[in-house]
């Protein structure tokens, strides 16, 4: 199958790839671009570990074909820090211990970034509902919610 080049903006930089447009964004990020911060959890859109931002919206990269991000802005966990400073959500997760094994963390932080992008000042209820699509199998839920609450009330720097 002949492939047209696919261009999109990844973490602020333009990338152009010549590959099958039906491939899933998750595997292109992890394999071709060596950005392994985006995790493969279930591969079925159930767990949220693979969440990235596409034009600021939290999106499951395991369900998103590469063609769908053509011309768009994709942000992964690697692109959240600015000028070497961690994003407020990253700082808050660290401060509150919003993880145990850490496997779900990048997806949690990216979904929370999408949530804060849409609602800069969510209520606790909105946080819980907004994070419903991200599973943590360790049990850090309370600390995850606390971290997002504290990031939301902090500087409010948005990706």
């Amino acid at each position: 199958m002949a492939n047209d080049p696919i261009q999109f903006t990844l973490n602020g930089k333009s990338v152009t790839l010549q590959t099958d447009p039906a491939r899933l964004l998750l595997w292109v990020l992890r394999t071709d671009l060596e950005l392994t911060g985006t995790k493969y959890g279930c591969g079925m859109g159930e767990c949220g570990a693979c969440t990235v931002l596409v034009d600021g919206q939290a999106t499951r990269s395991c369900l998103t074909d590469l063609a769908a991000v053509r011309g768009k802005r994709v942000t992964t966990i690697e692109g959240l820090a600015e000028d070497g400073r961690p994003h407020p959500l990253q700082e808050a997760f660290d401060e509150h211990g919003g993880y145990q094994c850490g496997y779900c963390t990048s997806g949690m932080i990216m979904n929370a970034a999408g949530l804060l992008h849409a609602h800069p000042h969510p209520s606790r209820r909105e946080i819980v509902e907004g994070m419903e699509g991200n599973l943590c199998r360790c049990g850090a839920h309370q600390r995850i919610v606390a971290a997002i609450e504290s990031a939301a009330t902090g500087t409010g720097r948005q990706p």
């Binding site: 899933l24 859109g45 074909d65 699509g133």
Partner: protein, 308 residues
């Protein structure tokens, strides 16, 4: 996942999408249209030989239909678009926004579309009950039947007839391009209300049962028009027509609501599966329809416990 894929198309127009699908079908092998991919990718059908991606089509919109109060919704409008639509929030008590907001997680709703939600023809489809309660229709472009019959190769199918069985939409190879919602027939001095209810362990779960109700009363407080629709309680989302008939012509009050809910449960044809038994689904159909009708009463400004 798509190991046997021969072609992946991303056309910019509906005509091109239909042309590509027709050519691929002639060339042989199974294929599919894809919008958000939140069902197709999960289904992981490795036998697919071609995919036509719909995300460039100009079908992502929510528009007023003339001056009468109806709506048209493009089929690639995402669930998140519907959930956040300020215009739809003010229409029919926001029943479409409420239903869209329960379909999967935020990440799924950012990608999943109204067209995909309907075209998968899942009996548990969350948008079906509110759309059935709004007398919505599906506009289908192309397909074996459509090309010959209708002008411009488009045909309009009442949503009730769109669902022919689990996973069996009435598309005939055509493409679902638009949902049409007519203006509800609210008489002068009358009132209208809609409500959506869903039962699942979590909000984002696939529904054990979902239901929507719509009621219009005249200035005499008698019910003029009623719609009761239930999902995941039969092979397709269904209208409970005998329950609706029980409401029409009578004062709309809590007794009427409860009687209609009981009758609606009798009209379901649920199955037992991993999510619930048939008996539980039937009983929960009664509960959810009752709640939806109670909500309609409340939205009309009536105390659901009072008779009047």
């Amino acid at each position: 996942m798509f190991d046997r894929l021969r072609a992946f198309h991303r056309p910019a127009t509906v005509a091109a999408a239909l042309r590509l699908a027709t050519a691929e079908r002639r060339a042989g092998g199974r294929g599919a249209f894809v919008a958000g991919g939140t069902d197709l990718v999960v289904q992981g059908d490795g036998s697919l030989r071609w995919v036509v991606d719909l995300s460039l089509l100009p079908l992502r919109y929510v528009r007023r239909r003339g001056a009468g109060g109806g709506w048209t919704i493009g089929s690639t409008t995402t669930m998140a678009d519907l959930e956040r639509s300020a215009a739809l929030r003010r229409f029919a008590d926001g029943v479409l926004c409420d239903a869209a907001a329960t379909a999967g997680s935020p990440q799924i709703r950012n990608r999943g579309t109204i067209g995909g939600n309907l075209a998968n023809a899942s009996p548990a489809c969350d948008l079906a009950p509110p759309l059935l309660a709004l007398d919505a229709s599906a506009v289908i472009a192309g397909g074996a039947a459509g090309a010959r019959k209708a002008a411009g190769g488009r045909r309009t199918v009442a949503l009730e007839r769109f669902f022919r069985g689990p996973g069996r939409p009435a598309l005939n190879g055509g493409l679902l391009v638009e949902i049409v919602i007519p203006a509800p027939p609210v008489p002068r001095g009358g009132r209208a209300a809609w409500a959506f209810q869903k039962l699942g362990r979590l909000q984002s779960d696939i529904a054990v049962v979902n239901a929507a109700a719509g009621v219009i009363v005249g200035s005499d407080c008698r019910c003029r028009w009623a719609r009761i629709a239930i999902g995941a309680a039969g092979p397709t989302p269904l209208r409970a027509r005998r329950a609706e008939a029980l409401l029409v012509g009578r004062p709309f009050d809590r007794d009427a609501a409860q009687a209609a809910a009981a009758r609606a449960a009798g009209e379901t044809r649920p199955v037992s599966d991993v999510r619930a038994t048939a008996d539980y689904r039937r009983e929960m159909s009664r509960v959810l329809v009752g709640r939806a009708l109670d909500e309609c009463l409340e939205r009309m400004g009536r105390d659901p416990w009072a008779s009047w």
